[in-house]
Symmetry: C2
Subunit: 424 residues, 2 copies
């Protein structure tokens, strides 16, 4: 199906056929959900031994009684797990509660109210701004929106953010004090930043406000589908450029063990970590060390962690294949949309023809398939091209996903044809 | 021993004898700790069945898969536990992570940056202030200090804060926007607020800034030592006065199950809860529901919870008795100090003669007994009378506590005699 070259009669004919198919599907009363990157039940079950794993022994390897108060940085054994995931020294890791989003929120809070490493608090800038590559992750945007930090977009490319555009913005505006990154299997495009991108990111501190921080949300650090995709080490790049203070790294076991009750990590330079700990010390006596110990027991060595992630990949692989097969079969020779083939992570990002995303999502919803709201991958929920749709294939069982994708491709076609007819 | 009426020779004689005793004790190389209200290992062990209690079944009673993302308010079964502890309706309870201090921090953050229930954010006031009854809890003060919210003290009495002083301050200063309370077994004096106090507190909103909030930290709601001490219900008092929005209640299972990995609760009016949830929604997808479910399984009914708290009381009772016995035996007929006899909670508050606390704590530390730093029970660490010392008897085993208290009473005597000699 090629819209651009189709005659009006052809479009009308397509619309009629698609409309009939759509009406039939609507009668099935489907209730399917592709909205969020939630692990499926069989993925969660991989970690069900967590409850009971302590076998009555609540002592951490270093002798800490994890049941009692104390230890703002988390137990050493958990920090080592975070260090393995982020490939950084354990001394630079703080192991927190169950949510890396919460750690990011407190890092923004720290920068905003108190300033990192002796720098000016962001609130004292005239118009503090974060850069966000788009499409991106709505929960990152929401943190900035809550603090009244403006969001400026830069386009994502196949190798990471458009670095020319990004550097230019930083040169032009000293009030840019942050950058959101999902550097591996980017949410939602699935892209992994290449070496040149990482190196240029590590140099941003040379042209940015001294308070500028890169929020390196490495949510999918070990979430490869087939082979291991290598993300260049931002810490090493920053150390090489004498810009170590400009990077804050985040990770968690949310998509490794149990999504709502994992362990989250932040890694940063000693100066940044001191700023974070100062903020946190007023807020908590320490994180849940018992749950940290459970995780350390589940993954005593990196090899167990890797083996565990292979099991996740085995469950996720057919789901990604299903999505890509539907897209390939229906749109490979068309002008109805573009997408990337991610090698890991939790999403497939699909771009419709200009101005069609909202209608695709509406049609899908009416047919019983919930998709992430149009615009969610852009700040303030506004996709200027109204074309990006984030598909999250992990949660539904394979058969449901297959049905949902049939509905989705049909809705893409119907919305595209109708849009073309309106314009004709 | 009575200092006031002692002759100089008598004081010198006492000093000599006490000095000798002190030197002997210093040679024992003790290492004892009465600093913080930490449960002892045998108390923690009461809840060791938590790990493994799920027996592979991660479903909450309402069907929620606790392993996955979602549910900002916590699971219903956990909220019901919080409702039991705080004696409020479950709909007004949010069950959070492991720390009620964190919930208080976020409540202050909400008031400070965004404002509760449509009220002006506290940061926009000229000089936002919290009132704190003293002696009080240092971690409450630390939250305000971090946000630059000034702290004004009001004296504690045997029935709660000095309400005349408190009301006067609120009448005099519209920038007072908060009040810290530990209403039952107050930290550190052990006092429980009486009905008149609670009723007057519930009426404060009538004379205060509309953004004024009472932080009702009911940390020891069910932590009675002997008989159940009844705290009047602040929610009901506030409803009766049409001031429900002026109260935020907090509790946790930190001193019920495992101190570092319990479940924390906040209870508030629908308008306040909406403000809190708005703030939290940018920060987290939801709390650790698996741990919440563990707690719900441990305490399916209020009766199990009560039985569990009786076991804590059995362990704590001899420790409080030990502290009080040392104080009674040494100081009942003296002018060396005053103290309350708490019916529950975690502390005994001791007031030395004017200006002696710091020296008692220094002497104890040198003899190997760590006490909470002098001044910690006052904002900015400054006890104007340098007399309050918080004794936390829960953590050490009984024999160690007994030794530590021998050191303590000796140090009180030595510091008091020396001070008197200086002044003479």
């Amino acid at each position: 199906m090629r819209i651009e070259t189709a005659q009006r009669e052809q479009l009308q004919q397509w619309e009629k056929e698609l409309e009939q198919q759509y009406q039939r599907i609507c009668q099935h009363n489907l209730s399917l959900d592709l909205t969020r990157g939630k692990p499926a039940a069989d993925q969660l079950a991989l970690s069900d031994s967590l409850d009971g794993i302590l076998n009555g022994d609540y002592r951490a390897p270093d002798g800490t009684d994890t049941r009692n108060y104390g230890g703002l940085e988390g137990i050493a054994a958990a920090r080592e797990l975070g260090a393995d995931i982020l490939q950084v020294p354990f001394e630079e890791v703080l192991a927190g509660g169950s949510s890396s989003l919460t750690l990011m929120y407190h890092a923004v809070l720290t920068g905003y109210l108190f300033g990192f490493a002796g720098n000016q608090p962001w609130k004292d800038l005239k118009a503090p701004k974060f850069l966000c590559p788009v499409p991106g992750y709505d929960r990152h945007f929401a943190i900035c929106e809550q603090f009244g930090i403006a969001l400026e977009t830069v386009p994502m490319t196949a190798t990471g953010p458009d670095m020319d555009a990004l550097e230019q913005k930083i040169r032009d505006d000293n009030d840019i004090i942050g950058l959101w990154c999902v550097p591996k299997f980017s949410n939602p495009t699935g892209v992994t930043y290449d070496a040149d991108t990482v190196d240029r990111l590590a140099q941003l501190a040379k042209i940015a406000n001294p308070g500028f921080r890169i929020f390196w949300d490495n949510a999918y650090a070990i979430h490869d589908l087939d082979h291991q995709v290598k993300l260049p080490n931002i810490r090493e790049a920053a150390l090489g450029n004498d810009t170590a203070d400009s990077v804050l790294q985040f990770a968690s076991t949310s998509k490794v063990t149990h999504a709502g009750s994992g362990v989250a990590f932040v890694s940063a330079s000693p100066a940044n970590l001191a700023s974070l700990k100062k903020q946190m010390s007023a807020m908590t006596i320490g994180p849940d060390k018992v749950n940290q110990l459970r995780h350390a027991r589940l993954f005593p060595e990196l090899s167990q962690l890797k083996e565990h992630m292979h099991k996740h990949a085995e469950i996720l692989r057919p789901k990604f294949a299903c999505v890509l097969e539907h897209l390939d079969k229906n749109f490979a020779d068309s002008d109805l949309g573009q997408w990337e083939k991610p090698q890991g992570g939790y999403f497939v990002s699909f771009n419709t023809r200009l101005g069609c995303a909202q209608e695709v999502i509406r049609l899908s919803a009416e047919a019983g398939v919930k998709l992430t709201p149009a615009g969610a991958t852009f700040p303030y929920g506004k996709d200027p091209e109204n074309s990006n749709i984030r598909i999250a294939p992990s949660f539904p069982p394979l058969e449901e996903l297959d049905t949902a994708m049939s509905v989705f491709v049909l809705c893409v076609k119907l919305a595209s044809v109708r849009k073309a007819l309106e314009a004709a």
